[in-house]
């Protein structure tokens, strides 16, 4: 007869870059139940809108998470801009798109590195992060910051990139693309790596639909939905298709993200070729009044930003539903029935961002 035991996992665990606690109920090697507990990073920044001017709150919104910092700030601005009826100049829209895609590249490379670290392939982790530095250098050259760069403001961008810089970036990305082909083939074709990923944490299309999951986690189960297709910012002018896979396991999720890396490089190329000249910001007047919900595609999936404003300089409510928040219930469900050794792979392949979950 098998005996039951409870293994506490986290909040401090070598495989976790961020704290989350899971109580894993095991029967021998098999996980039969999982009880998550969160709140180690809960700061309560959504309530800070009551104390900060809506223009200053951009800085707080950007600090929700250091990985998709740019997109958090941008989406907050877009929600307020929509309420105030501000139409962005086209160049600002293109700049936002380019920075968004650079953020996606940096986020996916970071994730590939962490995944490699989780299955114990440390040199691959170092390689991924070495390539990621090239993206961070581009951020630093164009904005002055590496991770949190505060170039968004309500009504546009604080900085412009000149065309020489943009074309320089495209050239550098060409070199990066070659390097990426080398390391990503290790993820997709190396038999030792595949043995850790293939067949682990299989999620059906039906389950993905039922649990309302988001991002590459969902697309790896065969649902072709990418919020960028809504055509916000400059995405309406660019040519791309959602990347999907039908396998639904950890390998498929890796595959989707790897192919998204190349897609992002392609999108940046298209955007740089089409970017119009002109101003990058418009002045804003008055205070917002009304409500709006913005949907954007972050590296981890669809994120929802809800802003409710009352016509004063303080907002009534700012709420974010981040993609990881939507993915956690499905991840918990997938863990049931797995072996203990597969848990790190499962946690990693939803690309968890705990500071996004808890805000």
């Amino acid at each position: 007869m098998s005996t039951r035991s409870v293994v506490p996992f986290g909040p401090h665990h070598p495989v976790l870059p961020e704290p989350i606690h899971l109580d894993l109920v095991l029967e021998d090697e098999k996980v039969v139940d999982v009880i998550p507990s969160i709140g180690f990073i809960h700061r309560g920044l959504e309530k800070l809108v009551e104390k900060r001017d809506f223009r200053d709150f951009v800085y707080v919104a950007e600090r929700m998470c250091g990985i998709c910092s740019f997109m958090h700030g941008m989406s907050y601005c877009e929600a307020v801009e929509h309420i105030m009826g501000v139409e962005l100049p086209p160049r600002a829209k293109y700049l936002r798109t380019i920075w968004c895609e650079l953020s996606r590249l940096h986020s996916h490379l970071l994730w590939l590195g962490l995944l490699a670290d989780a299955f114990g392939f440390e040199s691959l982790f170092m390689q991924c992060w070495r390539l990621r530095e090239k993206i961070l250098d581009m951020f630093e050259a164009s904005t002055g910051g590496r991770l949190i760069f505060s170039v968004n403001k309500i009504g546009g961008q604080r900085r412009d990139m000149d065309n020489a810089m943009l074309h320089g970036f495209v050239e550098k990305l060409g070199g990066l693309e070659e390097d990426l082909k080398g390391i990503t083939s290790t993820f997709l074709a190396n038999s030792a790596v595949n043995s850790r990923l293939k067949g682990v944490g299989y999620m059906t299309k039906k389950m993905a639909q039922e649990y309302g999951v988001a991002g590459p986690f969902m697309r790896a189960s065969g649902i072709a939905r990418d919020t960028r297709k809504l055509g916000y910012d400059a995405y309406g002018d660019l040519n791309f298709e959602p990347i999907t896979s039908t396998e639904g396991d950890c390998y498929a999720r890796t595959q989707v993200r790897v192919r998204e890396l190349f897609q992002s490089i392609d999108l940046i190329r298209q955007a740089v070729a089409k970017i119009p000249e002109g101003p990058v910001a418009v002045p804003i007047r008055g205070f917002p009044k009304g409500e709006y919900m913005v949907r954007v595609e972050q590296p981890r999936g669809e994120a929802i930003y809800y802003v409710k404003a009352n016509g004063t300089k303080f907002l009534d409510r700012f709420r974010v539903r981040t993609p990881t928040f939507a993915n956690v219930p499905a991840m918990i469900e997938l863990m049931k029935g797995c072996r203990l050794s597969e848990i790190p792979m499962l946690i990693l392949t939803i690309d968890p961002c705990v500071s996004c979950i808890e805000r």
Binding site: I38, G39, H42, Q209, E210, V213, M293, R317, R319, E333
Partner: protein
């Protein structure tokens, strides 16, 4: 929030379960549940989506009024509902997984609670 790709429906709290069941059979997925503290009540917004279209259901509840859980219709809803319970203090009935206020262990209990409730004026 009325645009081509989104709509907002006002529902009565009693009719919530019926409406949500209907959406589920029509193939909608749950996007999020959000609560907002207004002057004297909480505004609940349930967002659903099919393809790229967004549908919001909305109703308001007074302090202490119970809201039925939709977690037996959409299994992932328990996470949102526990969050609302912990941060707003809105009681939610029949959740499939009930943390009983221990999902977020905040220093201040239910920080988004209505002011009148904090002063003890609201119904117990």
């Amino acid at each position: 929030m009325a645009e081509s790709d989104r709509q907002l429906l006002e529902v009565r709290p009693e009719a919530l379960l019926e409406k949500v069941t209907e959406l589920k059979t029509r193939g909608y997925r749950l996007v999020q549940i959000c609560s907002t503290t207004l002057k004297d009540c909480y505004e609940m917004t349930y967002s659903f989506s099919i393809e790229y279209d967004l549908l919001n259901l909305r109703f308001t509840v007074k302090a202490g009024e119970k809201v039925p859980s939709i977690s037996h219709i959409y299994p992932s809803a328990y996470f949102y509902e526990n969050e609302i319970h912990d941060l707003f203090g809105v009681p939610i009935e029949f959740m499939t997984v009930d943390y009983k206020g221990r999902l977020y262990r905040t220093a201040v209990k239910a920080p988004y609670k209505l002011k009148q409730e904090e002063e003890g004026g609201g119904p117990k």
